[in-house]
Symmetry: C2
Subunit: 226 residues, 2 copies
């Protein structure tokens, strides 16, 4: 499958590498490839610059947002939540028309410091904001409730015995995402319902952040026991 | 221990019965015991009237809010979230001074129909509103993330292998609650931190409601796999 991953941070790199490993044709989208490749310092999270990662992943092409999105059967929004709408605007509405858009971002607001609050919640969600801005895209929310390493390697905690949520209005788009999740090792994918249920999935972030603090690790997962 | 349970609905009854069974001296608080006992119709949830339940639980006294709270070492707020501050005001600030106040309510707003939204979230919580209104009380948030039957019988799903959260500013109050939870069969109690972490615990309700819809059962629990 032709997949565009928008975002060059840890989440984007992790997802892109896994999807390429699974045999997909992966392009990473960024605002300006030249400036992304020109950076030589580690990013704010201490990750090596993109060029170092790129050298380790020669099969993954870096392209401007619109080039990456054009022709992709699946676009993964792995940009930071506060910049997602802008990145998708740059990708171009025409390039998202009819495309499955897997949104794994979170509406985190760090303006008050840590822990972050949410810039949208409860009666609306970032996933719905994206859907309203790009009515032709087939938005599916998933994977936003776990750290990047567990998105692509769920077996890393509890032998993979935990739950992953999906929300979306388009059954076929949701099925494509569920199949992709299954191929990455997610064994208990729970369909929460239409895209408005992304409000609930995004509202898991505050407890995730608190749990990371209380337990001292980001390697934690929600399992729905029933 | 002398325990007052405020609220005569399913949650209050379930908790009161379990605490009495564990050997505690339990009083249930209500606005007006005579009118509570005079009701003969099932409540909005289809539960039998309180008098029927009372006849099955002769060892549990029904009292006006202030009488119930006076002298209690632990007050359990099992009233509906939208009426909690009013019920606690009726109980009387002087009767909550120094008392451990276990808040198991949720700030559910049904004014827009179902699913409910939250009338406070993200940057504040109902637990914190209660703490600010009653600065002498020692507020601990817990048990709000599960249906009443699982609060008192966690083994009913997954053999009890799931997680329960506590939040609070007073370490001794939190310890009292954790001991009580342990006595009720909760095996993985996670201390999220100070009372501001109740925001995160209360924000679990939207996904709980959506999961109940998706899975078709309220007998579900969060387990934090790590």
């Amino acid at each position: 499958m032709n997949i565009a991953v928008l975002g060059t941070g840890t989440v984007g790199r992790t997802i892109a590498a896994k999807l390429a490993e699974l045999g997909h044709e992966v392009v990473v989208g960024t605002r300006d490839p030249e400036s992304t490749m020109a950076r030589t310092d580690p990013d704010a999270m201490g990750n090596p610059p993109y060029s170092v990662w790129q050298a380790d992943h020669p099969g993954i092409r870096l392209a401007p947002y619109p080039d990456a999105a054009a022709g992709a059967e699946l676009v993964v929004n792995a940009t930071g939540g506060s910049g997602s709408l802008e990145a998708l605007n740059l990708a171009g509405e025409e390039n998202l028309e009819g495309t499955v858009l897997l949104d794994i971002s979170n509406p985190l607001d760090f303006s008050r410091g840590f822990p972050p609050s949410l810039f949208v919640s409860d009666t609306d969600s970032l996933a719905e904001q994206i859907q309203r801005a790009f009515p032709g895209a087939r938005v599916v929310k998933s994977l936003n409730t776990m750290t990047a390493a567990l998105m692509v390697d769920p077996g890393r905690v509890g032998g993979g015995d935990h739950s992953t949520f999906v929300s979306g209005d388009d059954p076929d788009a949701k099925k494509m995402v569920v199949d992709l999740l299954t191929s990455m090792g997610h064994t208990d994918v729970i369909d929460l319902g239409d895209l408005s249920t992304a409000r609930a999935a995004e509202m898991l972030l505050p407890v995730w952040v608190r749990l990371m603090g209380a337990l001292g690790t980001p390697y934690l997962q929600f399992k729905i026991v029933r």
